[in-house]
Symmetry: C2
Subunit: 87 residues, 2 copies
């Protein structure tokens, strides 16, 4: 399954949330992650994220796709994420 | 074409960016938008957004899908966006 995950997490928790998401997904940009993931690993990711974020203040959106990836991705503005950024 | 758009825009510009995106797309949550859009309207949206954001500080990611929508969407944490929030 291919997923796109977007979070909005407070400054204090963002480093941990980033680290958690990068264990399972590719970091596209800033608060956006994507990748192929199994249902089991997605469940793990969600549990780990719920331990990191404050559900009264933060939010997470996960788009799940059966198989096909997107046909194109466009980005503009600054590039904050990506593989070249090693924490 | 179905698109998912995510932005990371500074506080000063976020209200204008939100208004711009909501002209063309459905507001899912916080910085996430989605919807069916023509290539022409997507071009308009990008031009309008580029007039609003600071490309040295802000970022935008647009996922383009040929036809199919996602199979599922999961959200957790606070719900900031959505149709019920009228600016």
């Amino acid at each position: 399954m291919f997923v796109i995950l977007v979070y909005d997490v407070g400054q204090k928790r963002v480093a941990k949330a980033l680290k958690t998401c990068r264990k399972y997904l590719y970091w596209v940009q800033n608060s956006v992650f994507e990748g192929d993931i199994t249902e089991a690993n997605l469940m793990k990711l969600k549990i780990e994220l719920l331990n990191v974020i404050d559900t009264d203040k933060d939010s997470v959106v996960i788009y799940k796709f059966r198989s096909t990836k997107y046909s194109a991705i466009e980005t503009f503005g600054i590039k904050k994420g990506g593989e070249e950024n090693i924490l």
